[in-house]
Amino acid sequence: MLELREVSKRVGDAVHIRDVSIRLEPGTLNVLLGPTLAGKTTLMRLMAGLDRPTSGTVWADGVDVTGLAVQKRDVAMVYQQFINYPALTVYENIASPMRIARRPKAEIDETVARVAALLKLEPFLDRLPLQLSGGQQQRTALARALAKNARLVLLDEPLANLDYKLREELRAELPKIFSQSGAIFVYATAEPEEALLLGGHTATLHEGSLTQFGPTVDVYRRPNTLLTARTFSDPPLNWARVRKVGGVFHTHLPDEPPEGEADVPVPPAYAGLADGAYVIGLRPHHLALSPTGADDVAVDGYVQAIEITGSETYVHLDCLNTDCIMLTHGVHELPLGSTVTVHFSLSRLMVFDAEDVAVAPQAEDVAVAPDAGKGAD
């Protein structure tokens, strides 16, 4: 078990980590999710003991390890860059933590063989890391982390520098490889999709603060705050500041002439809310060009830009009095500047109050519809 208690890290005047408290259980995979500069790497360095927190304490299995040297901690780490010992062979790279721990030679041989088989490194054991491809180099780094058999394994965007195909392949293998070890895994990533694919638990980070921590699917489906919802959305979350008047969310400002077509009806589950300022959010893949079902809402959208990736089309819209992105399947060639009718299901609507805190729906079963926010597509 690893626990951070109110850990902060300041460098000069800049706050890199702000009052983070988190508790990670053995045998779990924990994803740190946040954009670049959110503090993922800093938080990992604090967990590893490479940096010392400015305030707060780090506990491992009930022992305060805050000031303990990194050599004395039971940690392994893999970086985004492919970090190996260039002067040592792949075999020696993998064996290195065990050599330092003075393990018997037979055990080292056995472990290296097992780990190398797991990561498909057997043909390269006699080579130097720089003679390998990027994917093989990162496999070597992962193998070394695995061979150490540490209780805490930190993976700092380990797949970010790999090409698409290798990334998919390794990402599918990683949870399997690490699940048997019973260690605490911490995996930092900037991609919401990766967090969903890995599963486990997710902690979302924003500017050095921990915004939410829980089972990955829960965090994705029920973000506590607008910030978490935005962090955990790719392409970016569509959101708008609105005023609730009776049964309608008005998306325009009070002094603007009302535009009825950009208003959104209040979902039944939120009907009991007091009138006032709110924020509504919709994930890009919940917007569609055709009606979505019984509780469908249609609004006008003005096409501003189109990105076609092949199987999907990103439509940038001026919609709900804000900039929206619609992610649709298939190729849709819409003329720029044209008006389209945008459909979404009212049950997909996320509602936050004026302080950006999520508002719980009054009828639980409506908001947690079985397929609400299914997967990462």
Binding site: Q71, Y79, I83, P97, I100
Partner: protein, 265 residues
Amino acid sequence: MRWKWLVPTLYIVFLMLPIYWLINMSFKTTNEILAGFSPFPQKFTIESYVEILTNPVWYWGYINSMIYVVLNTVISVAVALPAAYAFSRYRFLGDKHLFFWLLTNRMAPPAVFALPFLQLYSSVGLFDTHIAVALAHCLFNIPLAVWILEGFMSGVPKEIDETAYIDGYSFPRFFVKIFMPLIASGIGVTAFFCFMFSWVEMLLAKTLTSVAAKPIAAVMTRTASTSGYELGLLAAAGVLTIIPGAIVIYFVRNYIAKGFALGRV
């Protein structure tokens, strides 16, 4: 472009001419050198070389020089390694100023330091010892070594250090087993430059020694003044002085290019 070989060839010919002339002279007798112009020895003789390699006054000059040069190279590299590591890896108060100040030591002419060194070493009994010259040359070579090594070390990602610490390496073990092999070429280049500067430096070496640690440069000037102008002998001594540098440069020639690429040589 039929004549494109011409300019480089001329350049190399002019570059090699003084060295050829030195070698040419070393195989002549002094009389022939003084007699007039001759592009190659009329009466080929290796007498000068025999004299140098058999006369202790001569060959001890070489041995003395080698001793303090090697001493200096070892001390400079050994001291500069941890210093360069600190400059490369840590931020501390005044680090950039200190780094620049180190370099300014190279800007002062050695003559400035000759007198203070002489007085200081005489009073502590270091005068006319090999270590005296080796230490004096550190004044120029350590800053240079720190400068070159820092460049090579900064080319090694910090994450390698951290990975090693996480794996359980202590600092000394990491430094020797993991880090030094990574900057081996840098150490080679540094050693070469320390060797060269110490080998060609004459003023401090002459000032700080008299008999026991007399460098070859001092032997050459003194012999010339006592036995008239033994030009053949001097030329042979000069040839032998070039050889160690040529040997060392042969071993580090590939790494020096890397040093240039880092802007540190």
